[in-house]
Subunit: 389 residues, 2 copies
């Protein structure tokens, strides 16, 4: 655990630049914050277990505006962030010992949610040299066993920033169809795709699984969250969407079991339809600039390799070190430049395959451009010292 | 499911008196509501996974004021309501197939949380004639097997309203100690005990498991929630407290896995130390009056038996019917008096033993006294009609 080391450094007066976590510094939309100022409901009682009706209607409107007019509120369960949605999906789909295919490197917390259901994550490798895009169909199919219940993927991807091409999403849909598997799509970074990119066509944007839901209604599950999209990580509101009625009945039963998501958070979230397009345009431009700053800066450091991420606000970066966990610790305990250091997430945490990711780190670009430039400078200086040790 | 029937009745213009759920109508304290008006934090980002630091400190102060000065923030995990705390406790303590002893009738959602962990609830009977107080030690010990991991009890009790005597709590502590079991105490109704009562001494109040935590530090787990205490069911804030470091390490890991509880809800909750004692005194007086109205009214209906509950805001009531589920449905679908009816929770839902609770209902007294009187009148009239069918 690096957090206690970071806390110690801060207590000693060291400034720590956090490239390790995806907690955005972008402002929450005014339309959402206004809910707090205008609050009248008293007492603050339970919402409906499935979700506050106003929020369910707003979510429906949001998906309809995206072009998916078939989405109905009956197909939804509001969740305590994307986290609870993932846990519910694992519990609804897997018996202990069942397997779910994921693409390595993957979001570390998938392990927690799988763990609750006793499910086993089976990973298929993706590699830095191809920008962490998906491997061939045959390599994925090779991992399917009698216990495989689902394929889970994140698009755009945390931790790699990869936005999958249409042909990649269609390949996954095809595999799910052929083998009768659930396809779980984590699309919490949907709005964060930065055109133009050599691999992801400028006009394409994010390729949502919603475009395939009607073709595979019993097997596709969308996992979504407002946290990143509206810079509201601290309001814990996500949603699970599927046309599979049996699955949703199970998920809704779990929703009833924990009674309700937060009423205030849901009322804030319900304003999502009032957030103007200009908000996203501005946010997207800002993240794109940050990505470019980081991408350019990192690739100038000798021995550092950073593929250009197409979306989200993460990138997996190769460093000229053998044990990035040791390096990340050392940054917090030993390295200082004018009383400052930088915090990174060691790569191994995003892999289950032993030995993988040891020369990688995940970097989140949720700091302003000036701080990002300083972070890159700190990393460069740190590597110079560390490699001479 | 009765909720769709109630919704249909309402759509047809029928007024439904809800005695079926424990969603209080008492106002949320002004000290808490003020947090919304005064909100400044922007963006609304993640809180610490263990809990917002301000809230953890407030909780510590609250338990210290109750007289338990040993409670430290390191022993806590803030949860999404009491619900998540129960789920985390089951997951931390039980492997699939492990058993947890509960006292029948019990809070129906215990089943959901046990289910997530694959744990089996083993019930020990309590009966209406003794006010649902605990049975003898030997009867409880008879249910202990090699798979038993814990005893879970709710004090004051949902659904019975029973406040356990000091000797009962001590008996459970003794059994846990002797057999090396965890003792899980759900005390979300702690403040709701109404003296004087013939069975529960006037001066005693609620007997908290915290008074025994230092004697059995490795085995006692407190499950708590602010929902009922401050009439904030819609802010999803609870807490798990234990001195067992290994257990809490597991619970905190689950906390990290789902990232954070809601920041706004936690900041509201953090004001709990500012809520004056007069708030509770007023709330307690109001609930006591409601209990008395309901107790007197129900016992005047021929064939109805209602023991006097000592705490919480529920009572289990015996009705002169064979199938209370059928009766509760009929109330919603058929019975009308001046366009009004009453909704009750069928007793069988609070039992796992087959056939038990079929002549009982759970009643919550979270309506004002006038509405409670009308509800009693409706029930009386309904029974007259139903029994002549």
């Amino acid at each position: 655990m690096l957090v206690p080391l970071a806390n110690e450094a801060k207590k000693a007066g060291v400034k720590v630049y956090h490239l390790n976590i995806g907690d955005p510094d972008i402002e929450t939309p005014a339309e959402m914050l206004r809910v707090l100022k205008d609050w009248k409901t008293n007492p603050i009682g339970y919402a409906q277990p499935q979700g506050d009706l106003e929020l369910l209607e707003s979510l429906k409107t949001y998906y309809h505006r995206l072009g998916y007019g078939f989405v109905e509120t009956a197909q939804m369960q509001v969740t305590n962030g994307g986290s609870e949605g993932l846990m519910m999906a694992f519990l609804a789909i897997c018996n202990p010992g069942d397997e779910v295919i994921v693409f390595e490197p993957f979001y570390a917390n998938y392990r927690s949610y799988a763990g609750v259901a006793g499910a086993k994550l089976v990973s298929v490798a993706t590699v830095i040299n191809s920008g962490f895009h998906l491997s061939k169909k045959s390599q994925i199919e090779r991992q399917i066993t009698a216990r495989t219940r689902a394929i889970l993927y994140c698009n755009p991807n945390n931790p790699t920033g990869t936005a999958y091409l249409r042909e990649e999403v269609e390949m996954l849909v095809g595999i799910a169809k052929k083998h009768g598997l659930f396809l779980l799509a984590d699309e919490v970074y949907r709005e964060f795709v930065y055109p133009p990119s050599p691999r992801n066509g400028a006009s394409e944007g994010q390729v949502s699984v919603l475009g395939y839901m009607q073709k595979l209604p019993e097997q596709i599950v969308l996992l979504d969250s407002l946290s990143k999209r509206y810079s509201v990580c601290g309001i814990r509101i996500g949603v699970v969407i599927s046309q599979n009625q049996e699955l949703m009945a199970g998920v809704k039963l779990m929703g009833q079991g924990r009674l309700s998501s937060g009423l205030v958070d849901q009322k804030i979230a319900a304003k999502l339809t009032e957030v103007p397009k200009s908000y996203f345009a501005k946010v997207q431009r800002e993240y794109q600039k940050r990505r470019d700053v980081l991408y350019a800066g990192l690739n100038k450091i000798p021995g550092v390799k950073a593929p250009k991420p197409e979306g989200a606000f993460y990138m997996m970066v190769e460093l000229p070190v053998k044990d990035s966990d040791d390096f990340c610790r050392w940054l917090l305990t030993d390295f200082r430049d004018h009383g400052e250091t930088v915090m990174l997430a060691p790569g191994a945490g995003f892999y289950t395959s032993k030995g993988k990711g040891n020369n990688e780190v995940r970097v989140a670009y949720v700091l302003n451009q000036k701080d990002l430039k300083r972070s890159v400078e700190l990393l460069k200086k740190a590597l110079e010292v560390y490699l001479k040790k």
